[in-house]
Every structure is written in structure tokens, then in C-alpha cells.
Symmetry: C2
């Protein structure tokens, strides 16, 4: 169950990032996070926290509600 939500979140991040045609490296820079952390998120390996979820939504320039609509 937990792994599933992590994977759903990761898939949503990857989908949105690819729609914007941004590399993991550039996206990590936009978020202020490390590239390997973004990679882990997209692979569903991390239990990301609220602060970093907000950084990702801001990097995509969407609301948290809109980010979670994708998962």
C-alpha cells in the first residue's frame, strides 16, 4: 500500500516532467533538490515529505491539488 502511493506519486512526477520536456537534472535544479533524489522519487523509492512535495509542485508551477489529481 505504501509502496503503491510512492509509485503513483513518482509516475505522476515523471509524466509531468516529460510533458514539459525537462531532464531530471534540470528539474532537480528547479526544485532545489538533488538529481538522484528526483530519480528515486520517480522510481517510487522515497516517502517524500510535505516540504519537498511543495517544492515539486512549485517547480511544475501547479497547485498541490493539481499535482495530486495526476496520481
Amino acid at each position: 500500500m505504501d509502496d503503491q502511493i510512492r509509485l503513483r506519486f513518482g509516475n505522476a512526477v515523471r509524466k509531468l516532467r516529460m510533458q514539459k520536456n525537462i531532464s531530471q537534472e534540470d528539474f532537480a535544479y528547479l526544485c532545489g533538490l538533488h538529481r538522484t533524489y528526483i530519480s528515486d522519487i520517480e522510481l517510487g523509492k522515497r516517502n517524500i515529505s510535505l516540504d519537498n512535495i511543495e517544492k515539486i509542485a512549485e517547480a511544475f508551477n501547479i497547485s498541490l491539488a493539481d499535482l495530486f489529481k495526476e496520481i
Copy 2:
């Protein structure tokens, strides 16, 4: 900024919990989390993780997108 998102999330949880007229203790039980943890969340003191955000949404019987619409 980080504190603000934590507080916005906490206020949303408190608002939804009060709308359902559930005590912190009963809500914690529904979530499978500790009462003091729920109290800290509502006070914006915790950087809650995705797994626990999902537990809260499930306890409210709403989607993650609907939970984040409240913040």
C-alpha cells in the same frame, strides 16, 4: 515557507476533522497514527510524509487531490 505549508496542511486536517465531529484521539485511531502526532500535524509542527498523508486522506475517505483542495 516550509512552516507555512505545514500549517496550511494542519489547518485543513483540523477543519475536516471538526466537520466530521471526530476527536483527535478517534481520528488518530482511524489513521493508525498516534494522537500526539495528529496534534502536531494540526499545529503545523510536522513535515508529514506521503505515506501518512495517504493515511489521513483514507481516514477522511477522500482522495489526496480533495484533501489538498482544502489547503
